[in-house]
């Protein structure tokens, strides 16, 4: 339920605190050294791109919080049909 101040379009400090904490906690919990997410993103692109033509600029790799555990979520848009159609 939005508060009165939210309805008036003002962002109150509690809401700022919650947003900041959400980001901080995801980083704290994953305990990943800086740069790991970027490396992971690059390597994921390389692996997938060997088989499928992907839209490299639209790839999104992020940690998503679910309860107390985090999930690594990757969204890798595909440009065209597979280079090597599966024979299975």
């Amino acid at each position: 339920m939005p508060s009165l101040s939210e309805l008036l379009g003002r962002k109150r400090s509690a809401s700022t605190a919650k947003d900041r904490l959400r980001v901080v906690l995801i980083h704290d919990r994953s305990a990943l050294p800086p740069g790991v997410m970027d490396a992971l993103r690059q390597e994921l692109i390389e692996v997938v791109a060997r088989h499928i033509d992907v839209d490299r600029h639209a790839v999104r790799v992020e940690m998503v919080q679910e309860g107390r555990s985090a999930t690594l979520q990757a969204e890798i848009p595909i440009k065209a049909a597979p280079k090597h159609p599966s024979s299975e």
Binding site: M1, S3, L4, S5, E6, R12, S13, A14, S15, A17, K18, R20, L21, R22, V24, L25, D28, R29, E66, G67, R68
Partner: protein, 270 residues
């Protein structure tokens, strides 16, 4: 008798661990349970003054660990409650004077004679914290609706889980309803959503707590105090009783949001 060991911890200092330990212990003893509370903050002893028992100390926890006295000799009986005892911390030593296995051994002895052993953990994540949670059957985390306290609580919840002492239970201390309503303080529901743990208590921000600490008389023993009631409710929940959360110290739509959160949490665990 096999007593339960409850450890009160927080990560960040100054959020109200010692006050909570004193009040939860007093409330449990006032319910008729046999309770011993233990100050595990070696070198920064405080539970004795909060309980008003500082003049009676002869032996302390380190004396027990190092064999200079029996556990029973280090226990101080409360002035008001016959069933409440305190084992004070040493003031002139540091945390390394006690090891986690010492705490386990002492608590195993205390379990024979007490219903509840309540341990006041030091702040931080080092030796003192590890000592305090080593014997725990249950861990209660105290936090304030404030960014640094919530962040540290999250870290502690993770460490408690890693030590296989979870799931920890949460007390949100010092809620100021006016500030929550103005949108300038995190609501209990916000803290719960961020930390994703079970709530076991909400304690209002109340200047009467300082007054009771000045006197060394736990507010949980004041029948008319709302804050005292909040601590008594926590004690009852710790004994397994279902005590509804009052709407007066939460925020608008608080109950609805809590029950929604609880349901989604159950769904995940299923």
């Amino acid at each position: 008798m096999t007593g339960r060991v409850i450890t009160i911890t927080s990560g960040k200092g100054g959020v109200g661990k010692t006050t909570a330990t004193a009040n939860i212990s007093a409330a449990l003893a006032a319910m008729g349970h046999k309770v011993v509370c233990m100050d595990a903050d070696i070198g920064l002893r405080n539970l004795d003054v909060v309980l008003g028992l500082e003049n009676r100390i002869v032996y302390d926890l380190v004396d027990v660990v190092e064999g200079r006295c029996k556990v029973r000799q280090a226990m101080i009986r409360d002035k008001r409650l016959e069933e409440l005892y305190l084992i004070p911390a040493a003031q002139t030593r540091d945390k390394n004077a006690v090891a986690p296995k010492d705490m386990v051994r002492i608590c195993d002895e205390l379990r024979q004679d007490f219903d509840y052993i309540v341990i006041d953990s030091p702040a931080g994540i080092e030796r003192g914290f590890k000592n305090a949670i080593a014997p725990a059957d249950e861990v209660v985390i105290i936090t304030n609706p404030e960014v640094s306290a919530v962040r540290d609580a999250d870290r502690i919840i993770g460490l408690v889980e890693a030590e296989q002492k979870g799931p920890a239970k949460l007390v949100v201390n010092r809620i100021n309803t006016d500030m929550v309503e103005r949108g300038d303080m995190l609501a209990v529901a916000d803290v719960l959503e961020l930390l994703a743990v079970e709530l076991i208590g909400i304690v209002p921000d109340d200047t009467a707590v300082l007054v009771s600490t000045n006197k060394g008389a736990p507010i949980a023993l004041e029948p008319k105090s709302k804050t005292g009631q909040a601590f008594r409710d926590i004690a009852r929940r710790l004994t397994g009783e279902e005590v509804p959360f009052s709407t007066s110290n939460g925020n608008n739509g608080f109950l609805g949001r809590i029950s929604k959160l609880m349901k989604s949490k159950e769904g995940r665990n299923a």
